[in-house]
Amino acid sequence: MIVAERKSLDEILAMLQGCSRVLVVGCGTCVTVCMAGGEKEVGVLASLLRLAAQREGRTVEIGETTIERQCEWEFVDGLAPGIRGYDAVLSMGCGAGVQTIAQRFGGVRVLPALNTKFIGIPEKQGMWVEMCLGCGDCVLDRTGGICPVARCSKGLLNGPCGGSQGGKCEVSKDIDCAWQLIYDRLASLGRLDLLEAEFAPKDWSKNRDGGPRKVLREEVML
């Protein structure tokens, strides 16, 4: 799941400078689940924008709506009626959502309310952690199902650095050393042999190197 976090109110208020009619758009999928941009957060942010304006003695009109997924043309289409009446659209979707709305509605100012953070899981209620970098060339088969690319602070592929101490990463004692986790897991699976195979330098062309990536599947195309 995509995990995001709301930008600070100062930042949001600054980008809305001069806008008096704003539509806050929530996304009903990933960011609802990670509690950053669902219907509830839309209500909270809209309320705060009105209060901020009241505080300054301005009048504003803040619209609220939440659509199923901001990254699908069909759902985004639902915003068409009325969207052009606003000075700005404040998207509470991830970066994909913001851009989809922007692309669909030329001439409309679309602004991000969230910082899109990572692909991760709720480790527990209220705490999300990064699990996958979307590197384009998955290695989990060789690492016991624990991703060194995303979860090792340095993205090392051939075992830990010297900073691994008592299972913790030298970057912070709140971070588990991914390579310790990998080792423990492989040990429990009886597959420490996997560690003997050397990782070749990672082929980053499958990631950012080749420019924006694309997945194309002709068999499902219309």
């Binding site: 109110l9 009903g28 509690m35 669902g38 957060e41 209500g43 209060l51 901020a52 505080r55 003695g57």
Partner: protein, 913 residues
């Protein structure tokens, strides 16, 4: 029970609880109260919450009053009593009540108690010395709010509590412990310190009688957090000092001299005696009284029955008990009435007729009525005496019971265990899956699917409407004595069996000839002491009878059970030596058993002693009272059941609203040892109440739900699982077909916590949707009040105010739980022009929905920081703990909030120029 009427006499907590329960089971009830108002003695008490709930249970009383008043099926008559009674030949009674004749099939007497009149001990100066008041006076002062000093017209730099006034006092003819005063004083001591942080509080006591939820923790907090001083001494006199202060004379333990100490205020912890009308009523109905003058039970196993058909007793009138115990007693009496009724009807099984209500029958919002088909099978986990007893009662009530579990726990009550085993065996409505273990539980109240792993890994599935957890407890030597287990001449107290210990047991353990000296070491936690202590004294008595010399070592003497003080005194009379130690005894290694213990009562004095008061006892036998611990698999079982456990790991949350057998999940009950109630009598009482409640819930095969519940709009649900995780009652599951969350109406308590947590705004609470809440938010200072606590206080506060000294335009918005308050509601109130907003609800650990108030506290904190982020003063949004009886505290909170509103003015700033 369509046609039958039950008359309940006395509207204290016990009477109200019985009336409510009987009405819920379909009986017509007349509740007769001599006074002018409902609630009994406890209606005058104060919530003793400080920074947290201190588990005094007073809040339950106020709710109970409201419940009873709001039930049309309870006919309440105040200002009258039963003038005469005539037994009818067909069974039942004709009674004359307040000039009216009432026919009824049964009578429940719940006439309560009379507090000891402190002026009967003139040496304590009550009504003579202005610095001396009773605990009842203090209850009222605390309840009315304001300064305690002002109330009594005294400074309040130092306060003393004097325990056992009119209790454990043979001279007053009150040779028993009143059971409730140690705990009420402890809680009041905390409350006094909380309100007057500079007051120094001392408690003069003989022995600390622990009861209720986690008493040891309360005492520890009182001592360490509040600095309350506990002095073991029985004051002999309260005199006047020249400066008007009171002088408490007490016997100093170190040295045994009488010493004076001066205090600004002395509180006499008055005991509880039989109610005024007990004897008259006993004569009227032909009932027996015990030697202290309380109604005597005819059969200890069925304590609310009197032996006279159609007459039952509940609450304090049958002996000292606290509020929670009295509420449970009311339930038990209701059960006993119903069982008798059933027996009368040609020995048929009781077909429970009517709606169950929720229990405790707290007021809930009404919802769409619906009848849900449920399984009337009840799964009992644990083949303990309490488990088997519950199954037996369930069978009487027409339910099928399935008992799963190991052999019965050898419970020091083996006679009972054997007869129950036989009874369970021959009952065709009870199945036993010996050696089975619950490994998985799906479904919800009324329709659980339990996966049981039998011996040899055999897996079976049982459908059950309700579950009773009766897995017992684990017995082990207390920490300090752990190393002694298995040593020669050391036996566990429970190994000695019930009363009449065969002291030949000593012979086997005795080395050689010589002295016959036994040391009985009762070093258990206070919460288990009550159950164990009686056994210890019985053991001591039988040893004495067999000619042994006996020492009993214990930190406290626990004598709060019926007849226990008498037994204790008897043991002392017969020569048993009781050593109330402060430091754990030491058992010296080596071949002989030598127990070293310091007796603080012996004090210094003894010249040449290195350690004052040190005794060295050479014992032939050391009997160690075992401590109770949760069964080893309790954490795992709790996880499977999704049931909360308390601080010691026993089942049941630490919340006062879950007394005595409820858990956080509807229709899962915890009874006896597994919830820490290790005494056999307590365990039996639990079994009765739980069986009755389970039968009421699912016994007819139909569960009538008419309370408001939350519902998920499944189209909007993103299946984020927030509701599944945050519902305090675990009422939310996943609807696999719809790929959405789904709330069980049978299991939902209607708190609304999930509705304000759902990030998709996909859940609405019936009768209290967000729109309905927001419709009540208008441009004014707003107080969101919990329906179960602050709202009751607010209503009382407002009723007592003249229109013009009201707090101003305060908009009170009631919510079923503060957890229902959504952050959006708070922000919207400001948007609509509120200058300040307060949220008021139960104390921490006192929430009616367990954790709703904690959610609310987080919400208020979140709102404050968000407001700050947009330049609005965070102090405009506030949270207050207000118990239902705390109208004064509510007013203070409201005034403070209004003050903030006035000072800060409107949120909206006028545009400059």
């Amino acid at each position: 029970m369509e046609s039958s009427r039950v008359v309940v006499v006395g509207a204290g907590v016990a009477g109200m609880s019985a009336a409510r329960s009987l009405a819920a089971a379909g009986a017509r009830v007349t509740l007769v109260e001599k006074g002018e108002r409902l609630g009994g003695m406890a209606a005058d008490y104060a919530c003793k919450g400080t920074d947290r709930c201190n588990k005094c249970n007073v809040c339950l009383v106020h709710e109970l009053v409201r419940d009873v008043k709001s039930r049309p099926d309870i006919d309440v008559m105040t200002g009258c009593t039963v003038d005469w009674a005539e037994a009818l030949p067909s069974g039942g009674y004709r009674l004359k009540v307040g000039g009216r004749e009432v026919g009824c099939s049964a009578v429940v007497l719940a006439t309560g108690f009379e507090p000891f009149d402190a002026s009967a001990r003139p040496e304590f100066g009550y009504r003579v010395h202005p610095a001396v008041v009773t605990a009842l006076d203090l209850e009222k002062a605390l309840r009315d709010g304001g300064g305690i000093g002002e109330r009594f017209g005294r400074p309040i730099g130092s306060v003393a509590f004097v325990q056992c006034v009119g209790s454990r006092d043979l001279q007053q003819g009150r040779g028993y412990c009143s059971r409730v005063c140690c705990m009420y004083s402890l809680r009041m001591a905390r409350a006094v310190r909380h309100r007057h942080p500079s007051a120094e509080v001392t408690v003069f006591y003989m022995d600390f009688q622990a009861a209720g939820k986690d008493p040891a923790d309360l005492r520890r907090r009182a001592e360490t957090e509040d600095g309350v001083r506990f002095v073991r001494a029985r004051p002999s006199e309260v005199a006047s000092a020249p400066d008007g202060r009171a002088v408490v004379w007490f016997e100093d333990l170190d040295g045994g001299r009488c010493r004076p100490a001066e205090f600004d205020l002395v509180i006499l912890a008055v005991g509880t005696g039989p109610g005024r009308d007990t004897r008259t009523l006993a004569d009227m109905f032909g009932l027996g009284l015990d030697e202290s003058g309380f109604f005597a039970p005819a059969d200890p196993g069925d304590a609310t029955a009197t032996g006279v058909p159609g007459v039952f007793v509940a609450g304090m009138c049958r002996g000292p008990r606290d509020i929670a115990e009295s509420v449970a007693d009311g339930e038990r009496a209701a059960l006993a009435v119903l069982r008798e009724e059933a027996a009368r009807r040609a020995g048929q099984r009781l077909a429970l007729s009517l709606p169950v209500g929720t229990w405790p029958g707290r007021r809930v919002l009404r919802g769409q009525p619906e009848t849900i088909e449920v399984s009337s099978t009840v799964l009992v986990l644990g083949r303990t005496v309490e488990g088997m007893e519950a199954a037996r009662i369930l069978s009487d009530l027409g339910c099928r019971a399935v008992i799963v579990g190991e052999e019965a726990h050898p419970d020091g009550s083996s006679g009972l265990a054997h007869s129950l085993l036989a009874r369970v065996d021959e009952d065709s409505s009870i199945d036993v899956l010996a050696g089975g273990r619950l490994v998985r539980l799906d479904g919800q109240a009324g329709g659980f699917r339990a996966t049981i792993e039998g011996p040899g890994g055999l897996v079976s599935e049982i459908c059950a409407g309700a579950l009773i957890v009766a897995t017992g407890y684990r017995r082990e030597f207390p920490e300090a004595a752990r190393g002694l287990a298995g040593r020669a001449c050391v036996v566990g107290l429970s190994e000695l069996g019930e009363s009449g210990v065969p002291w030949a047991v000593g012979e086997e353990h005795r080395k050689g000839g010589g002295g016959r000296r036994a040391v009985i070491w009762v070093g258990v936690r206070p919460d288990t002491a009550r159950a164990v202590f009686r056994q210890a004294i019985l053991a001591a008595l039988s040893a004495l009878a067999a000619g042994w010399e006996v020492y009993v070592l214990c930190p406290e003497v626990a004598v709060a059970g019926p007849g226990d003080e008498e037994l204790y005194l008897e043991a002392r009379r017969q020569g048993a030596v009781f050593v109330k130690y402060e430091e754990e005894p030491e058992v010296q290694a080596g071949s002989a058993l030598r127990v070293l213990v310091r007796d603080p009562c012996l004090g210094a004095g003894g010249a040449g002693d290195d350690v004052p008061g040190l005794l060295a006892i050479d014992a032939d036998v050391l009997v160690v009272a075992e401590e109770a611990y949760p069964p080893p698999d309790a954490p795992e079982l709790a996880r499977v059941l999704q049931v909360n456990t308390g601080p010691l790991g026993f089942f049941q949350d630490d919340n006062v609203n879950l007394l005595p057998v409820l858990t956080n999940r509807r229709s899962i009950f915890a009874v006896g040892g597994c919830r820490g109630a290790t005494g056999v009598a307590d365990a039996m009482a639990d079994a009765h109440v739980a069986a009755y409640l389970a039968a009421r819930l699912v016994g007819t095969g139909n569960l009538h739900v008419d309370w408001a519940t939350a519902r998920v709009d499944q189209d909007k649900c993103a299946l984020c699982l927030t509701c599944v995780r945050t519902c305090p009652h675990r009422a939310v599951g996943v609807d696999d077909e719809m790929r959405a969350a789904k709330i069980s109406r049978a299991a939902c308590w209607g708190c609304g916590v999930c509705t304000s947590e759902c990030p998709g705004k996909a859940i609405a609470l019936e009768s209290c949707s967000d729109d309905e809440v927001l419709a009540r938010v208008r441009p004014a200072v707003t107080a969101f009040c919990c329906d179960h606590s602050a709202l009751i206080a607010a209503q009382a506060a407002m009723a007592g105010l003249a229109a013009d000294d009201a707090v101003g335009d305060l908009n009170i918005v009631s919510v079923p739980c503060t957890g229902k308050v959504d952050i959006i509601h708070l922000l919207k109130a400001f948007e609509r022009g509120a200058e300040a907003v307060m949220v008021a609800g139960c104390f921490d650990e006192g929430c009616h929905f367990l954790s709703g108030n904690r959610r609310a506290l987080l919400r208020v904190g979140q709102a404050a920081s968000l407001l700050k982020a947009v330049g609005i003063e965070p102090e405009r949004v506030r949270f207050y703990h207000v118990g239902p009886d705390m109208s004064a505290a509510f007013l203070e909170a409201a005034q403070e909030t209004m003050q903030v509103a006035r000072e800060l003015g409107p949120v909206m700033r006028r545009r400059a120029g």
